[in-house]
């Protein structure tokens, strides 16, 4: 199961609307427990696949190193990633599976149709190796908060300087 605050959930969906018709991408930081990836923050990342950004994403490893360092300083781990599928279903593709290597992490996909975020699904990368890995749909528990403000959304999506 993926547990995420409503502000963070809405912020990662909004990211996909902002980058439409290109794919957005980002990293989910938090804590991983037995059967649960609990998200504390979502960090926006740049999509380096500018050659084919409408249907591909890639996060620069150097940016990941910085995000991982940031997570460590907060006492968090990388527990997942998110990206959008512009005008495409919120289902993992063969490309998504082939290029998924973080076993135990959640891969969140938001379908963005005509610039509006639609379905958001999360898939847990299961298995013990590259040979037997699989993306398995998992429940998303969105924790509602008392009030949603623009400031909250801004806080939930903190950019990492390049």
């Amino acid at each position: 199961m993926l547990k995420v605050a409503a502000t963070t959930y809405e912020a990662l969906r909004a990211h996909g609307e902002e980058t439409y018709p290109h794919e957005c991408c980002g990293v989910l930081l938090g804590r991983s427990e037995e059967g649960l990836n609990a998200v504390e923050a979502a960090v926006r990342a740049g999509n380096t696949r500018t050659d084919s950004a409408h249907n591909r994403y890639n996060i620069a490893p150097q940016e990941l190193v910085k995000i991982q360092r940031q997570a460590r300083e907060q006492g968090w781990d990388i527990v997942g990633f998110y990206h959008s599928h512009p005008d495409h279903p919120a289902q993992w593709s063969t490309t998504d599976l082939a290029e998924a290597h973080w076993l135990g992490c959640s891969y969140v996909i938001t379908a963005v149709a005509g610039g509006a975020a639609k379905q958001t699904n999360s898939f847990l990368l299961t298995g013990s190796s590259e040979e037997d890995k699989a993306l398995v749909r998992e429940e998303i528990l969105v924790e509602s908060e008392t009030r949603l403000t623009a400031e909250d959304t801004e806080e939930a999506l903190r950019s990492v300087p390049a």
Binding site: S52, N58, Q62, V65, H88, H101, Q119
Partner: protein
């Protein structure tokens, strides 16, 4: 020096997120890491003994593949190695085989 282990590989390091080694080069550090934690080896290296294509190794903020001396680059105790599997994907490619069963 410290070697930072990404979440998916900690199952092979006894849940440690950081492994300390006393090494003189990047290659030496990686060799000590896989010597201390042998199960890591097949997840980092191909059968030909090369780093798997999706495994990135960073010395501080530099990709080891692009360092002039690559794995023979000298290191000190103050340096840190980060192992970072790549993050990529995208909407094209047919939907996964299980996807049709997973639709809401």
């Amino acid at each position: 020096m410290k070697i930072h282990i990404p979440t998916p590989l900690r199952v092979y390091t006894g849940k440690q997120d950081t492994v300390e080694v006393a090494a003189k080069t990047v290659g030496d550090a990686l060799a000590q890491l896989t010597s201390q934690h042998p199960d890591l080896k097949k997840h980092l290296y191909s059968e030909e003994g090369k780093l798997r294509s999706f495994v990135n190794v960073y010395l501080n903020d530099e990709d080891v593949r692009y360092l002039p001396e690559k794995e023979t680059t000298p290191v000190t105790d103050a340096d840190a190695l980060s192992i970072i599997p790549s993050i990529a994907g995208g909407g094209t490619g047919r939907p996964g085989a299980r996807a049709s069963r997973q639709l809401v």
